[in-house]
């Protein structure tokens, strides 16, 4: 892989939240890379550290209590963790932007949506308000909303429409990386299908990279090129769609596939993953998935399994795979 081709490079990132009840280790030595023009799906359950990772890229971790304790994040050649306040402000919105899960809470309820989009242009491109509002109208048209509706307030839009507004705002300054944090979880399936289609189209139109955070392996299959599966703050398996779906290697990924109700396989009884995600204030030594893993052996509890590569594109952090080698 050519280094120049990599837009986002996260190495060994660790983030913890220091609370009165103890230190919550949200992200523990996670690494991922996104190539230019590609979409990476970041999959995992609640508490896996997906959103914390995304917020670290934007340096939006609330501090205190959140602290980035280790690792590096390089975005388009710039060291994010060393960037100053001014540089970060310039970068957010123009180099990288983010779409949040809940469109109802990520818009300002007392400003017309057109003005909210225009704000992005005024801040980043220093153009006149009039010019900015014209371009905001063009952005709205692009996501399928008549420019005239820019005068309306967020509560006058449905959930799907609001998410379109948020997308328009995120893409206003043509960012190189778009982070989408569960962008369709709050939407109905038919509306979800519309929004996903729109995002796919815009992604190729603007030649962006995308980090798609989701818990839905169906959405990943629909929009992503590569997948990283996260568990307890680490990437446990990474590969192309084919690697993950056809040659599943990590027991946790396998567990996820077995527990999804599948529309094509009716009679099959679901096989849930027993137990719960480990408490992030008190992670077990060794592999964090071992207590729930049906293949676990004694060694799993001893040391954190290193990530090993199964092929050029496929890597997994599981001691059992190491043995097979």
């Amino acid at each position: 892989m050519n280094n120049h081709n990599i837009l986002l490079d996260i190495q060994n990132l660790s983030v913890e939240f220091r609370t009165d009840d103890g230190v919550v280790k949200a992200v523990n030595g996670m690494s991922l890379q996104i190539e230019r023009g590609k979409t990476l799906g970041l999959v995992g359950e609640t508490g896996a550290g997906k959103t914390t990772t995304a917020l670290s890229i934007l340096r939006l971790i609330p501090d205190p209590p959140g602290v980035i304790t280790d690792g590096s994040i390089t975005l388009d050649g710039e060291d994010i963790l060393a960037a100053g306040k001014h540089q970060l402000e310039k970068m957010r919105g123009s180099l990288v932007s983010m779409i949040f899960q809940d469109p109802m809470t990520s818009l300002d309820p007392v400003l017309p949506v057109g003005e909210q989009i225009a704000e992005v242009y005024i801040l980043h491109e220093r153009i006149s308000r009039q010019e900015a509002e014209k371009r905001a109208g063009e952005m709205l048209e692009l996501v399928g909303i008549p420019a005239l509706r820019g005068r309306d307030y967020p509560h006058q839009f449905s959930g799907g429409m609001k998410q379109r507004v948020v997308i328009a705002m995120a893409l206003a300054c043509n960012p190189k990386l778009l982070i989408a944090d569960e962008p369709t979880t709050a939407l109905d399936v038919t509306i979800q299908a519309q929004v996903l289609k729109l995002m796919k189209e815009l992604k190729s139109k603007y030649d962006m990279s995308m980090l798609m955070i989701t818990h839905d392996l169906g959405i990943v299959a629909e929009v992503c090129d590569e997948v990283s599966v996260m568990y307890a703050g680490r990437v446990v398996e990474h590969g192309t769609l084919e690697d993950i779906y056809e040659h599943t290697a990590h027991p946790y990924t396998e567990g996820l596939f077995h527990s999804i109700p599948n529309i094509d396989a009716r009679a099959r009884r679901l096989i849930p993953i027993p137990g719960l995600m480990p408490d992030p204030t008190d992670l077990p030594p060794g592999c964090p998935f071992a207590p729930r893993c049906s293949y676990a052996v004694e060694e799993c509890g001893k040391a954190l399994p290193a990530s090993i590569s199964l092929s050029d594109t496929h890597s997994v952090a599981c001691i059992l795979r190491q043995k097979e080698e």
Partner: protein, 319 residues
């Protein structure tokens, strides 16, 4: 099966809400019946009236008109007292395990409350014993009896909700999106639990959900709702294999499939659900329907028999 009386029969159920802008038709002429021990899945998107239907059946909301026959008796005519006694047999599990449990009560108090309300315990020891037994049934550890809801995770909280519904030994349970607030791995645990309980206790479920793949695993029969009306009703396998109504087809194709085989380009429905306030007397799906023609605006299509147990309300599917 045909000779057996259905445990629940709903006839022409309507629930309208008065709003400043006019009458909101939340549930508009819905009819169905369920045999004992079976599961009916009610599927639809937000605003289609599926939860209102579930709640109207238990009279948690008073329906505007219609009949709800439970074991042959029309429960809409029961007095308040009679209805309370009837609810021993009819229970509900709510969607959000975070807001459906009283945060100031312990787990054992929450589960014992229905027993106390119905005065079913001879002594507090008896009550304790029953609570323990039901906690074991739903897989809650005994050490949790004195915990409060905030100390439990979502999956366990939903187990408490299930225990509370089961403690009265009901024969019929409305499950209103019981797993949609849970993570997939936990969701599978709860779905399996509900299936096991149904077999052990011979329960009848109405399973309300927006997620077609979830009911695929549980339901014997599925009713698809759109804007307050049932647009298609069929045995689960039949519905998945031969969907007839354009809305059912669109719903099925909009589900992202977690597999690389069978990749088909998504053809999302255009537009959004229209307003349920004073809806026109036409097919309510017509404005979004890719096949809509003049006939679709000539009146509300009735639910018609297609053969077998398959019913559909679409003027194009009836030739």
């Amino acid at each position: 099966m045909a000779e057996e009386h259905p445990i629940l029969e709903v006839r022409n159920l309507k629930k309208y809400f008065k709003t400043p802008k006019g009458m909101l038709h939340a549930v508009d002429d819905v009819s169905f019946c369920i045999q004992r021990g079976k599961t009916l899945g009610i599927v639809g998107e937000s605003g289609c009236g599926k939860s209102t239907t579930g709640r109207s059946i238990l009279r948690l909301i008073e329906p505007t008109s219609g009949e709800v026959l439970f074991e042959g008796r029309d429960i809409l005519r029961l007095s308040k007292d009679e209805m309370r006694r009837m609810r021993q047999k009819m229970q509900i599990i709510f969607q959000d395990p975070y807001s459906s449990l009283n945060p100031r009560m312990t787990i054992s108090d929450i589960i014992a409350e229905p027993l106390r309300l119905h005065r079913l315990c001879s002594s507090s020891a008896d009550c304790e014993k029953r609570v323990q037994r039901i906690m074991e049934t739903v897989g809650l550890a005994e050490r949790l009896v004195n915990s409060y809801p905030h100390e439990l995770d979502g999956g366990r909280r939903q187990r408490v909700g299930i225990a509370r519904a089961l403690v009265l030994q009901p024969s019929f349970i409305v499950c209103d999106e019981p797993v949609s607030a849970l993570d997939v791995s936990i969701q599978a645990q709860i779905l399996n639990l509900m299936q096991d309980l149904q077999e052990q206790l011979h329960l009848t479920y109405i399973f309300i959900t927006h997620n077609l793949s979830v009911v695929n695993h549980l339901a014997d029969e599925i009713a698809v709702m759109y804007l307050g009306q049932v647009v298609e009703k069929a045995p689960a396998i039949e519905l998945f294999e031969h969907p007839q109504h354009p809305y059912t087809k669109a719903l099925l194709s909009a589900i992202p499939v977690p597999s690389l085989k069978k990749r088909t380009e998504m053809q999302p429905l255009t537009g959004e659900i229209s307003s349920p306030i004073n809806p026109p007397q036409t097919c309510r799906f017509a404005p979004r329907c890719p096949y809509a023609c003049d006939r679709c605006t000539e009146g509300v299509p009735a639910l018609r028999h297609l053969g077998g147990e398959h019913y559909v309300a679409c003027c194009l599917c009836q030739q």
